[in-house]
């Protein structure tokens, strides 16, 4: 069974204080690892897909990296508008298109 564990569950950062979120996974044949951002009262917003170990992707202050066992979402010099819950999900190589999600990293950036 595909499993995704995210840590820390909650994180409070000062504005400008860089940090990293961790997503550890076990999956039978990784097809893709996904990061989403979810604001309160809204649906998840797609950020990145990573397909193979060593791959990196960036978007503004966010950078996602992937190894064979985990992914990191680095937040560089965060701003209050980066406050959100960040969700990690994996998709296995076999079977249907089901995404297996972690519980999320809740990030609060304090001005």
């Amino acid at each position: 069974e595909d499993q995704v564990t995210q840590s820390p569950e909650a994180l409070r950062l000062q504005e400008g204080e860089s940090s990293s979120l961790n997503c550890s996974y076990t999956v039978s044949g990784l097809r893709g690892l996904f990061w989403y951002r979810q604001d309160p009262g809204k649906g998840p917003e797609f950020l990145f897909t990573l397909y193979s170990a060593g791959e990196e992707k960036e978007k503004e202050r966010l950078k996602a990296t992937l190894t064979k066992k985990e992914s990191f979402l680095h937040i560089t010099a965060p701003k209050p508008e980066d406050s959100a819950t960040y969700l990690c999900a994996v998709q296995a190589g076999k079977g249907n298109n089901r995404l297996a999600f972690g519980k999320g990293n809740q990030v609060v950036v304090i001005p």
């Binding site: 649906g43 917003e45 797609f46 897909t49 969700l87 298109n97 999600f101 519980k103």
Partner: protein, 114 residues
């Protein structure tokens, strides 16, 4: 990407009743999915809505409780039947779009069962 809308955005229902949630996407897509997000829990796939055939349900979810319709390539409904307080949750529709079939999510339907 895809623009997805859901109706209703939220509802408060009495136990024993049923609620049908609608999902509309702005382009034709092959795959649509229904997820549940319970408080403090991760998103869990309920079923894949297949156009022209029965939905494919995940372990722990059954058609009698969560009947799904998919009449065309832009629309689907999920019904939560004979509701109990344990069904209080956010229900999310998603679609697979683009060359890599990335999943995009709707805004969700917030359901409270009393």
């Amino acid at each position: 990407s895809a623009v997805i809308s859901q109706k209703p955005s939220r509802d408060i229902c009495q136990r024993g009743t049923s609620l049908t949630i609608q999902c509309q996407v702005d382009s034709q897509v092959t795959m649509m999915f229904w997820y549940r997000q319970q408080p403090g829990q991760s998103l869990t796939l309920i079923a894949t809505a297949n156009q022209g055939s029965e939905a494919t349900y995940e372990s722990g979810f059954v058609i009698d409780k969560f009947p799904i319709s998919r009449p065309n390539l832009t629309f689907s409904t999920l019904t939560v039947s004979n509701m109990s307080p344990e069904d209080s949750s956010i229900y999310l529709c998603s679609v697979a779009a683009g060359l890599r079939e990335t999943q995009y999510f709707g805004p969700g339907t917030r359901l409270l069962v009393l």
